[in-house]
C-alpha cells in the first residue's frame, strides 16, 4: 500500500528525516514509535503531502506521489489524517464534519451514520464539536478520516491529550473501527504500550531514521539494539560472557542464547522483568516493591551489587528484605559492546 524509500527532509539546519524507509501492507495497522522530536510528525506530513520531501520517494498503491520532480498535492493523494488535537471544523456539526470528505451521493447513502456507529457515536450527528468531550471529539476525527474509505489513514498521537482510562477504551474502539472498515493505517506514538497493544507492525524511529521494523512481538522480544530494547518496554542489560554458540554465562548462571552469539567474549544480554521468577534460594535480596495491582515489580540486588527487576503476578510476592532465588524463563539476546 505505502512504500516510502530514502525519505529525507530538513528544516534549515535541522535534519528531521534522514533516509527513512517504510512499507505498510494493505489492511495493516503499523505503529511508528519513537521519542519526541525524532521526526514522526514530519514523516506523516511528508506522506500526506503537507511537506515536500528533499529526497526519496513515496509510492501509494503503485502510484508515485512524491519523487524527484513529483509532488502530488494533499487533496489528490487520498490519504486522510487524524491530528493530535482532533482539529474538528468548529463551524460544522458532527454530521458535516464527517461528511466533509464525501461526495453528495455517499453523504446521502448513509456513510456518515455508518462510520459514526463504527466509532460508537450513533445519535451524535447533530451536535456541534464544542458539545463533545475530548474523547468524543477524537472519535469524530477518526470517523471523518475513515468516511471516504481512503487507502491510507494517518493518526498522529491521537490519544496523547486524553486521560489514561479514556485512552484505553478509545484505543480498543479505534482499533476495532479501523479493522471493521478494513482500513490501512499508520499510528504515530511515543508510547510503547500504545504501539504494542494496537499495532500489527511497529517501526521504531530514532533521530530521523527507522531503526527496526517488524511484527510487534518481534520488536519487543528481539530488539535490534540495546537502545530499542530499553525504549520498547522494561529492559535489563546484564554483562555476560559467551560460553559457546548457544549459551552465555551471567551472574544468574548459564543462560540459553536466542539467535546467533554475534560477537565473541564480553557481551550484554537482554532480560525482561517477566523473565525472572522468584524461587527458594539466596541469589538476590528484595530491595523494594512497585505495586501495579495486577502485578508487582520487585527491585532486586544480586550479591555483587547488580540491580535487577522481576515482575510477579498475584499474591506470591516476597517481602522487602527477603532473600530469594531466581529462575530465568526463555532465552536471552546478546549484544556486542556498543
Amino acid at each position: 500500500m505505502l512504500d516510502a524509500q530514502g525519505l529525507r527532509k530538513s528544516y534549515g539546519p535541522v535534519l528531521a528525516l534522514d533516509a527513512v524507509d517504510l512499507t505498510v501492507e494493505k489492511g495493516d495497522l503499523t505503529a511508528v514509535l519513537g521519542p519526541s522530536g525524532c521526526g514522526k510528525t514530519t514523516l506523516l506530513r511528508c506522506v500526506a503531502g503537507f511537506e515536500r520531501v528533499d529526497a526519496g520517494t513515496v509510492t501509494l498503491d503503485g502510484r508515485a506521489v512524491a519523487a524527484a520532480g513529483t509532488h502530488v498535492p494533499p487533496h489528490r493523494r487520498h490519504v486522510t489524517v487524524v491530528p493530535q488535537e482532533g482539529a474538528l471544523f468548529p463551524h460544522f456539526s458532527v454530521r458535516d464534519n464527517v461528511g466533509y470528505g464525501l461526495d453528495r451521493s455517499a453523504r446521502r447513502g448513509g456513510r456518515v451514520d455508518e462510520v459514526l456507529a463504527l466509532v460508537g457515536l450513533d445519535g451524535y450527528a447533530d451536535r456541534m464539536p464544542h458539545q463533545l468531550s475530548g474523547g468524543q471529539q477524537q472519535r469524530v476525527a477518526v470517523a471523518r478520516a475513515l468516511a471516504p474509505r481512503p487507502p491510507l489513514v494517518l493518526l498522529d498521537e491521537p490519544f496523547s491529550a486524553l486521560d489514561a482510562t479514556l485512552r484505553t477504551d478509545l484505543r480498543r474502539d479505534i482499533r476495532a473501527a479501523l479493522r471493521a472498515d478494513g482500513a490501512t493505517a499508520i499510528l504515530v506514538t511515543h508510547d510503547q504500550g500504545e504501539a504494542l497493544s494496537m499495532a500489527d507492525h511497529i517501526a521504531v524511529m530514532r533521530a530521523g531514521r527507522i531503526v527496526q521494523h517488524g511484527q510487534s512481538n518481534q520488536v519487543y522480544e528481539d530488539p535490534a539494539d540495546p537502545w530499542i530494547a530499553e525504549f520498547v518496554g522494561e529492559a535489563m542489560l546484564l554483562p555476560a560472557t559467551i560460553a559457546n554458540a548457544t549459551t552465555v554465562d551471567t551472574a544468574l548462571g548459564r543462560l540459553p542464547l536466542r539467535g546467533a552469539a554475534g560477537a565473541a567474549g564480553r557481551v550484554r544480554v537482554l532480560l525482561r522483568p517477566e523473565q525472572l521468577s522468584p524461587t527458594d534460594g539466596d541469589l538476590a535480596e528484595v530491595t523494594r516493591h512497585e505495586y501495579h495491582g495486577h502485578d508487582t515489580l520487585l527491585g532486586l540486588r544480586l550479591a555483587d551489587g547488580t540491580p535487577l527487576l522481576a515482575r510477579v503476578m498475584g499474591q506470591r510476592t516476597p517481602p522487602v528484605g527477603a532473600s530469594i532465588g531466581l529462575d530465568v524463563l526463555g532465552a536471552v539476546r546478546a549484544y556486542g559492546d556498543a
Binding site: 500526506a48 494533499p74 487533496h75 487520498h78 491530528p83 482539529a87 471544523f89 468548529p90 470528505g101 478520516a145
Partner: protein, 500 residues
C-alpha cells in the same frame, strides 16, 4: 490556498496599494538630486520635521496611556457599568479630527497650536490602541496570570510582567496606527493651525506653485514611516501567534476599591472631552443649520454618496487585504514580513498625495477609471489597506492551518478549503476589519476631495465646503450625520471587545 497562488495574489494586491508611492518616487526622481537637496536641507524642513515628530510622539504616548488604561479598566477590573464604558470608550473613533477641531475652536477661545492639535488628535485616535488591547486582554489566557500569582508575584507585578506582555503585540500595533495617523493627519492640524509636514504639503500643492517641493516633503514623510515600521517590528519579535481557542474561564478581576471613583471619573472625563464637546457644538449649530430650505435633499444625497463610496472602498480594501493577511498568517517568513510592512507605506502618505497620484494614474494609465467612484475606492484601498490586513491576520488565528490540512487530506481543493473552512472561520474578524475600514472611509477628507467624480458630494466634502467658507451652521447638519453614520460601525467594534 497553496503558497505560490497566495504569494502571487498578495504581490498583486501590494502592487495596487503601492501605485501612489511609485508615482511619488518617479516624480521626486525627476526633480534631480540637487533640487532634492535644496528642498530637504533647509531650516524650514527641519522645523517641520521636528514638529511633526514631536506631535507624533506626544500623541502616540498619550493614546497608548489612555487606550491601555481604558482597556484594562473595562476588561480586567470590577468597574461598574463595564459594558457601557466598553462601547463608550470606542465611540470617539467616529469623530473625524476636523469635526473635533472645529468643535473645540468654537467652544474654547484661542484654541490652536501644537498642544491643541495634540489634545484633539489624542481624543480622536486613542481607540486605535483601546480596541485591539481590550480584545487581547479579554482573550488572554488567565492561566498565565494565575501561574505568576502562584509563584509569588503581586497583582501589580503580574500586571506588568504577564498581562501587559500578553497584550504587547496589540499595544504595539495600535500605537503604530496612531503614529502613522498623526503623521498623515490633515484635518486637525490645518484647523488648529499647526505647521506639520501634511499642512505644508497641502499648502504647497494647493497654491500650485511648488509641486516638486511638496513631493519631496512627502518622500521625507515616507522615510519617517519606514523608521516607524522598523521600530514596531523590533518590538513585535516576542509576540505570540495562535493564542489558542480563547479562554476557557474569564480572568479574575482586579478590585478597584478606593480607586473606583477616580477610575470612573477619568473615563467619564475622556468621554466628555472626546464626545461631549463635539456633540454640544453640533447640536447648537444644527438647530440653526437644518432650518435652511432645500437642505434636507442635499443632505440625503450626500449621505447616500458617503454610504456607497465607503462600502465600495471597504469591499475593495478587504479584497486586497485578504491575500496579504493570509500570507502573513500562514506563511510567516521574511517575504511575508516584507509584504506586510510594505502595505503600511502608503498608509502614512497624506490623503492629498494619494489623491493627486491617483488622479495622475487615472489620466495617464487607467483612463476608464478616471472620474468614477472606483478610482476613489482605489484611493481608500491604498490608504487603509493595513487596517484590513491587520484584521485579516488577527482573524486567521481563528482558523489554524491544521484545519486546512485536514480538509485538504479529505480531498478538497485549495479553493474549496478556502471558501468552506478558512473564510467562514475568519468571518467575524474580517467583519470587524470591514467595519473599521468603512468607518475610516466615511471620515476621509483630502483624498475624497480630489478623487470624487465631479459633482458628487459626500458628507465629508459638503462639510469641508461649508466650513471653509466659515458657515458653521450650514456645516453642522453634515457633521452631525457624518458622526452618526460613523458611530454605527464604531458601536459594533466597541461591542466586539469581548466584554458584553
Amino acid at each position: 490556498m497553496p503558497r505560490p497562488a497566495l504569494f502571487v495574489a498578495a504581490t498583486g494586491a501590494l502592487a495596487v496599494a503601492l501605485l501612489p508611492l511609485v508615482y511619488l518616487l518617479i516624480r521626486t526622481g525627476e526633480a534631480g538630486l540637487g533640487r532634492i537637496a535644496d528642498e530637504v536641507l533647509t531650516r524650514r524642513v527641519a522645523e517641520l520635521a521636528g514638529r511633526s515628530i514631536a506631535l507624533m510622539v506626544v500623541v502616540t504616548v498619550a493614546c497608548t496611556v489612555v487606550g491601555v488604561a481604558a482597556a484594562f479598566l473595562v476588561t480586567r477590573t470590577d468597574l461598574p457599568m463595564r459594558g457601557a464604558f466598553g462601547v463608550l470608550a470606542a465611540l470617539p473613533l467616529a469623530v473625524p479630527t476636523y469635526v473635533a477641531g472645529f468643535a473645540w475652536i468654537a467652544t474654547v477661545d484661542g484654541f490652536e497650536g501644537f498642544w491643541a492639535a495634540a489634545l484633539v488628535l489624542t481624543l480622536c485616535s486613542y481607540p486605535y490602541v483601546y480596541l485591539p488591547v481590550a480584545a487581547a486582554l479579554a482573550a488572554a489566557d488567565p492561566a498565565q496570570e494565575e501561574v505568576a500569582r502562584s509563584l509569588g508575584r503581586g497583582p501589580w507585578r503580574t500586571l506588568t510582567t504577564v498581562t501587559l506582555q500578553q497584550a504587547r503585540p496589540a499595544i504595539a500595533g495600535g500605537a503604530l496606527l496612531v503614529a502613522l495617523y498623526t503623521l498623515s493627519d490633515f484635518g486637525a492640524v490645518s484647523i488648529l493651525r499647526t505647521d506639520t509636514f501634511t499642512r505644508a504639503i497641502f499648502t504647497a500643492f494647493n497654491l500650485g506653485f511648488d509641486r516638486t517641493g511638496a513631493l519631496v516633503l512627502s518622500t521625507v514623510l515616507v522615510l519617517l514611516t519606514m523608521v516607524l515600521l522598523g521600530l514596531e517590528l523590533v518590538s513585535r519579535t516576542r509576540g505570540a501567534r495562535y493564542a489558542g481557542g480563547g479562554p476557557r474561564r474569564p480572568a479574575t478581576r482586579f478590585h478597584l476599591g478606593r480607586l473606583r471613583i477616580p477610575a470612573v471619573s477619568a473615563l467619564v472625563a475622556v468621554g466628555l472631552f472626546a464626545l461631549g464637546v463635539p456633540a454640544a457644538s453640533l447640536v447648537r449649530w444644527s438647530i440653526a443649520g437644518a432650518s435652511r430650505p432645500g437642505t434636507l435633499a442635499e443632505i440625503g444625497a450626500a449621505a447616500g454618496n458617503t454610504l456607497s463610496v465607503s462600502l465600495g472602498g471597504a469591499l475593495l480594501t478587504l479584497l486586497l487585504a485578504l491575500p496579504v493577511g493570509l500570507l502573513t498568517a500562514r506563511a510567516p517568513g521574511p517575504i511575508a514580513t516584507l509584504v506586510d510592512r510594505l502595505s503600511y507605506l502608503a498608509h502614512a502618505l497624506p490623503g492629498i498625495v494619494i489623491g493627486l497620484s491617483l488622479v495622475f494614474f487615472g489620466i495617464a494609465v487607467a483612463y476608464p477609471l478616471y472620474q468614477t467612484v472606483w478610482l476613489l475606492a482605489l484611493g481608500y484601498a491604498t490608504l487603509f489597506l493595513p487596517l484590513a490586513v491587520a484584521a485579516v491576520t488577527g482573524a486567521a488565528v481563528q482558523a489554524p492551518p491544521v484545519l486546512d490540512e485536514v480538509a485538504r487530506s479529505l480531498g478538497r481543493s485549495p479553493f474549496v478549503v478556502l471558501t468552506s473552512v478558512t473564510l467562514p472561520l475568519m468571518v467575524r474578524g474580517i467583519g470587524a476589519g470591514a467595519a473599521l475600514v468603512f468607518l475610516t472611509c466615511v471620515k476621509e477628507l483630502p483624498a475624497t476631495l480630489l478623487l470624487r467624480p465631479t459633482g458628487m458630494d459626500t458628507l465629508a466634502t459638503e462639510l469641508w465646503t461649508h466650513t471653509s467658507t466659515a458657515s458653521y451652521a450650514a456645516a453642522a447638519p453634515y457633521a452631525a450625520l457624518l458622526v452618526g453614520v460613523a458611530a454605527i460601525p464604531t458601536w459594533l467594534l466597541g461591542r466586539r471587545t469581548g466584554l458584553t
